[in-house]
């Protein structure tokens, strides 16, 4: 009898979980079912289909397709562009976010805050087109680029600018809420203790925004790797020269070379999973830290 009571107690304890979530009852299972069904149909089924399609000729064939010289050079270019865009957007992003949150006298603060989101709202094709207009024959910046002897369009610089543009807001938007949340008090305490602005930033601000910064950097990188519209417009897709991994897929599909296209698509999907897992890990750790603190 006592044993039964204890078992019941355990059951009740398990039922009322710490996070306040409850087990759904019969009618509610329908609602849960709809959410799960939608996710499976929309997200998981296509993913599984791609994996099946890309591996239908075996793992060896998959590796053969993603290690051809064209495939490798496209992967290398994608990696370089993503790293470049991530560095630029991290450095300038942290500076911009800090100014937007802390610098109350920052000229044009409201407009700047609004303009930061534009790359999310602008179609990537238009992002690429902007560079065509700016650096094309009659563009505003064409004389500057010519004087400096830099080829921007259909070359690496243009692709880097395009990639940087489309991934610009992530770092800023991820760290701004954290900057607001940690407040100025600790920074001010550091100033009072005689720390310079730079020192206070490194030893007080940066640790406070670390999780957001990591998350933002990963989002930037993932977005940069996956970009197609903007680089398609500015790159000219020269095989082995200005062809990124996504453009490689684009061309493979165009040439009805499904095997190569699917293989590269699966590789990019896998790499975004690695990034997604890392992001999830950061999210979990951050929420655990917040819970502990």
């Amino acid at each position: 009898m006592a044993e039964r009571a204890r078992a019941l107690e355990r059951e009740i304890a398990a039922e009322a979980s710490a996070d306040g979530r409850v087990r759904p009852q019969l009618a509610e299972w329908a609602v849960v079912g709809i959410a799960l069904f939608y996710a499976v149909l929309l997200l998981f089924a296509p993913l599984a289909a791609l994996a099946r399609g890309a591996l239908s000729r075996g793992i060896a064939a998959f590796f053969r397709e993603v290690t051809t010289p064209d495939a490798l050079s496209s992967l290398k270019l994608t990696f370089l562009l993503a790293v470049g865009a991530t560095i630029l957007n991290t450095v300038f992003g942290v500076a911009t976010a800090w100014l937007l949150v802390r610098d109350k006298k920052f000229p044009g603060r409201r407009i700047v805050n609004g303009i930061v989101d534009m790359p999310f709202a602008v179609s990537p094709v238009i992002a690429g087109f902007m560079l065509i207009v700016l650096f094309g024959r009659t563009g505003w910046f064409a004389p500057v680029a010519e004087a400096l002897g830099i080829k921007v369009l259909f070359a690496f610089p243009g692709m880097l600018i395009a990639t940087t543009f489309i991934s610009l807001p992530f770092v800023i938007r991820e760290i701004m809420p954290l900057l607001e949340q940690i407040g100025e008090e600790e920074e001010n305490a550091a100033y009072t203790l005689g720390a310079g602005r730079w020192r206070a930033f490194w030893s007080v601000t940066l640790p406070g925004i670390r999780s957001g910064l990591q998350y933002g950097v990963l989002l930037t990188f993932a977005r940069a790797v996956g970009e197609v519209g903007a680089v398609l417009v500015v790159s000219g897709s020269i095989i082995g020269m200005t062809e990124t991994a996504t453009l490689f897929i684009f061309r493979a599909l165009d040439e009805r070379n499904a095997v190569a296209g699917y293989a590269m698509a699966l590789l990019l999907a896998l790499s975004s999973f690695v990034l997604l897992t890392a992001m999830e890990w950061i999210r979990r750790r951050a929420s655990k830290d917040a819970g502990a603190g």
């Binding site: 534009m118 602008v122 100033y191 996956g226």
Partner: protein
């Protein structure tokens, strides 16, 4: 804190060059990366006068592309508004097998390249795909048709509503819900009268973001749509086609319309957030 403030202001005055350097760097960066390029496209759009601008847009191909884009974005937004809110609610309130996996996978469409999304949908729903064959045998084509466009948009905009509603649900006071429950309100009444009013503003913001993203989408659509003028050619793909055809005037005219649309949406969102903050603060 009040003691620290003057000290900080002092620091700003003592070494203004560092701060002005930082301000200058940020403004130059955003100016060169965003403001100037946008201005250039807008200037190009109106460079040949309003008449030329209007002529480009009123061509049947351009007009139908714009119509299709708005139509597909509207359907996508409606579906993801309903199912996204539902998913967020389920994730925040229930314990069920697969909850953790689903929660981690919500962001997947943001991480996966849009072109890869398109490829995945072609593999699954294409004429030779597993589900594609089934649909095809019933006379429905998904890929290279309008359903494919909506499907691609649903995929790429899946996280928006969920990720804006979820935090609100997690932060919401449970007390009201529990009180209503104790007073004998049914779960549905409870959801409709207590939960829904709390999450509706967030859901609406998410829906606007979803719409803006759907209007601009290119990577996944270019693969699944088939891009047949007047039938499955969307506005961003139209812009791409005009660039390839070296018709800068046509490309910039449509760009101006899409930019105006996304700018308007952003302004509206900003205004709504500002107003809400004022209401909550006051």
């Amino acid at each position: 804190m009040s003691a620290a403030r003057p000290r900080r202001a002092e620091g700003t005055e003592q070494r203004p060059w560092g701060l002005w350097g930082l301000r200058g760097a940020a403004l130059t960066y955003l100016g060169l990366m965003i403001a100037v390029p946008l201005a250039a496209v807008i200037q190009r759009g109106f460079a040949d006068g309003l008449g030329a601008f209007w002529r480009e847009l009123s061509s049947p191909i351009a007009f139908d592309a714009l119509k299709l884009t708005l139509f597909a974005a509207a359907i996508t937004t409606a579906v993801n508004l309903v199912l996204g809110t539902l998913t967020a609610y389920v994730l925040a309130r229930y314990r069920f097998p697969g909850r953790g996996v689903l929660d981690s996978f919500v962001d997947m469409p943001f991480a996966i390249p849009t072109l890869v999304t398109g490829v995945m949908l072609v593999v699954l729903y294409g004429p030779t795909g597993v589900l594609g064959e089934w649909f095809e045998s019933r006379g429905i084509s998904v890929i290279f048709a309008k359903p494919g466009i909506v499907l691609a948009l649903l995929f790429v905009t899946y996280p928006f509503v969920i990720r804006t509603v979820q935090p609100v649900l997690l932060e919401a006071e449970r007390r009201e819900e529990e009180a209503a429950f104790t007073l004998g309100a049914s779960k549905w009444t409870n959801f409709r009268r207590i939960v829904l009013p709390t999450i509706l503003p967030a859901a609406f913001s998410g829906a606007l973001l979803c719409f803006a993203r759907a209007v601009g989408e290119f990577g996944s659509i270019v693969v699944v749509a088939g891009n047949i003028p007047r039938r499955t050619l969307t506005a961003p793909v139209y812009v791409f086609g005009e660039i390839e055809a070296h018709n800068e005037r046509g490309a910039s005219a449509m760009s101006v319309v899409l930019l105006a649309l996304s700018f308007g949406l952003l302004l509206f969102l900003d205004w709504r957030q500002r107003r809400r903050a004022e209401v909550l603060g006051g």
